[in-house]
């Protein structure tokens, strides 16, 4: 299954929030939807889920305009919240029923997920008696119980301890292997790098960059070297302004002429006591800042 958003436009009053957002997400893979606060991620998600219509553009499943009666969405909103005063089981079954399940199946599915997330003991408890992390796991059940084709997770790991994060990772991986489209929105870049094969960065209502994460990294200009040395001072003196120090103490050397990379590496090895030299590959964090920072 392939989900395509093509040229989605949306304005609220005078404000143009989305200025032609397009991206493609494939089944069996996770897609990372990134962007700074207020960039238009939530609006894109809401339009995708038919909360309100787009002013222009089209959403397609396998090339055909989406039919909301056939495609089920599972959604974990960034703003978490259920009914605090109601028992866990009542509201989970209610939400599963709203998504089209019959009561018996809904109870069965909810019980399966509660067990899977180690939450069965809280089945009859009121939601507001649970800790924040546990409430988050309950909320996750509302996104998964009805076995949706498209799963949208907005900041799924915030507030989870490492054990619960591990549990959630396994659940997400399982959803991916089952061929679902998983849309992942987070500011925790390490999780995105861990799960997502492709990403789209929304900036100022437009997609700044979109595609396979490895390709994006590969296409990044290979014009910097990372050099680790016991005594970096002579190297810094040698390269002057072209050399900066990274957070971990390694040196980052910008090359005026990337084609002559080999020559520079050779020179470094011959002249100095160097532990490691490699071509700099940007992290997702670097890419994100590059595409969404103020200078753009």
């Amino acid at each position: 299954m392939r989900l395509e958003l093509a040229d989605i436009e949306k304005s609220f009053g005078e404000k143009r929030v989305l200025k032609g957002v397009s991206f493609t997400a494939d089944g069996g893979k996770a897609f990372g939807l990134l962007g700074r606060n207020g960039a238009g991620k939530t609006t894109s998600i809401r339009i995708l889920m038919n909360v309100f219509p787009a002013d222009g553009g089209e959403i397609r499943i396998d090339g055909i305009p989406i039919d909301y009666r056939k495609i089920r969405f599972g959604y974990l909103p960034e703003e978490r919240g259920l009914y605090p005063k109601k028992p866990v089981i009542d509201q989970l079954v209610y939400f599963a029923e709203l998504k089209g399940m019959n009561r018996t199946d809904a109870i069965k599915a909810v019980d399966y997920w509660l067990k899977r997330l180690e939450m069965s003991e809280y089945r009859g408890k009121r939601l507001d008696t649970l800790s924040k992390g546990n409430q988050q796991k309950i909320q996750l059940v509302t996104a998964l119980a009805h076995d949706p084709e498209i799963v949208i997770l907005d900041e799924p790991f915030s507030g989870l301890d490492p054990v619960n994060a591990m549990l959630l990772k396994n659940v997400v991986k399982e959803q991916i292997t089952r061929g679902k489209i998983v849309l992942f929105s987070s500011h925790q870049m390490n999780y995105i790098e861990e799960f997502c094969d492709s990403i789209g960065i929304i900036h100022d209502g437009k997609v700044a960059i979109c595609g396979d994460l490895r390709d994006i990294k590969r296409d990044y200009p290979r014009d910097r070297l990372v050099v680790a040395a016991q005594n970096p001072e002579p190297i810094r003196a040698d390269f002057g302004d072209a050399c900066t120090v990274c957070e971990d103490g390694a040196l980052l050397i910008r090359l005026d002429c990337p084609d002559r990379k080999q020559e520079v590496m050779k020179r470094l090895v011959e002249r100095y006591d160097v532990d490691e030299i490699k071509v700099f590959e940007p992290s997702l964090n670097d890419i994100f800042i590059e595409y969404t920072g103020e200078q753009r």
Partner: protein, 414 residues
Amino acid sequence: MKQFSKILKFELKNYCKNKIFIGVTLFLVIAIAVLMFIPNLAAFFSSEEAQPSEGTPASVMLVCAEDAELAALVQSSFAAAFPDYEVKLAAGGAEDAKAQIVSGEAECAFVMDTAASYTYYVNNLSMYDTNCTVADTVLQEVYRTTAMVASGMTPEQAGEILSVQVESRTEALGKDQMENFFYTYIMIFALYMVILLYGQMVATNVATEKSSRAMELLITSANPTAMMFGKVLASCIAGLIQLTAVFGSAVLFYQINRSAWGDNEIIASIFNIPLPLFIFLLVFFVLGFLIYAFLYGAIGSTASKLEDINTSVMPITFLFIIAFMVVVLSMTSGNTDSILIKVCSYIPFTSPMAMFTRICMSTVPWYEIAVSIAILIGSTVGIGILSAKIYRVGVLLYGTPPKPAAILKAVWKA
């Protein structure tokens, strides 16, 4: 449709599990029960109290006049007219009478200037003191009889003339306002209370979902129209259940205490509401309830915080109170055919109360009723759909509540 029934069931269950809802219903049922048992209880207590009161001496009422004959005449007439008093002549004149009252020996005194003029002395004038009214009637009769006898009639003839009774019969060919007044009033008042109470509940319910952010999930799980109609109809059914419990228990307890209430016409008229009127009552009640509940729900969706609800719903509450005032004022003035109430009986927001009042207290042609109900049904559905749209736009707006014009603009675009 499936979603609608799920929402309806869920919301209704919430009402039925709500402790305040159950508490208020129980309280009302108990209050009604106590009210209905009052005649029995009163009879029970008065029968216990009656015995000791017989032994206590009667209060003293003094009569004095310069004319001894007048004094004797007044004393004998008053003795018959005031069986609760021991009527005595005050030998020492007005000053003696006043002194006796102040010292507590006597309760009150009538000091006669002439046969048709007196001063009434009493220590503390009670709000419920009717002695003067009774005395006026008695003295008038004494004066007339004396005058008639003086002009040559026998006391018997005079008595016959004065005691003549006029016989009359009244038949209302249309509606008897007196008979219908009380249940109309009670029903209008019940409608008023229930709409205000439940309207507020619907608004709060929506705003709670919004402020707890459950809305983020709801709005992506269910159709807003199904949400709005499910919520509002659930509150309507809950309201009807509560009213049925309260009025049902009232009827039940009335039947139990029927003999004790005897021929209290007010109470009897309330319980003898004719079936067609009852059906009209139900129709107007349900439609009136729905139209306001939709508005309250829509308003609730535009408030971000629960605290904002009270100010946000103010315009609707005012609209409703004005409608109520117009109807009640027309009712109490007895003029239920004025242009104002006629116009009101076609405007959807006032017609549930206005038209029901007109049907109860005046004669309304069937086509007027049909037109009024048709307008009301049409506008209820219209308001329902509009409020679902406002809901869809409103629930995702956080921050300060938007202005009505801004909401309508957004709804128009959506």
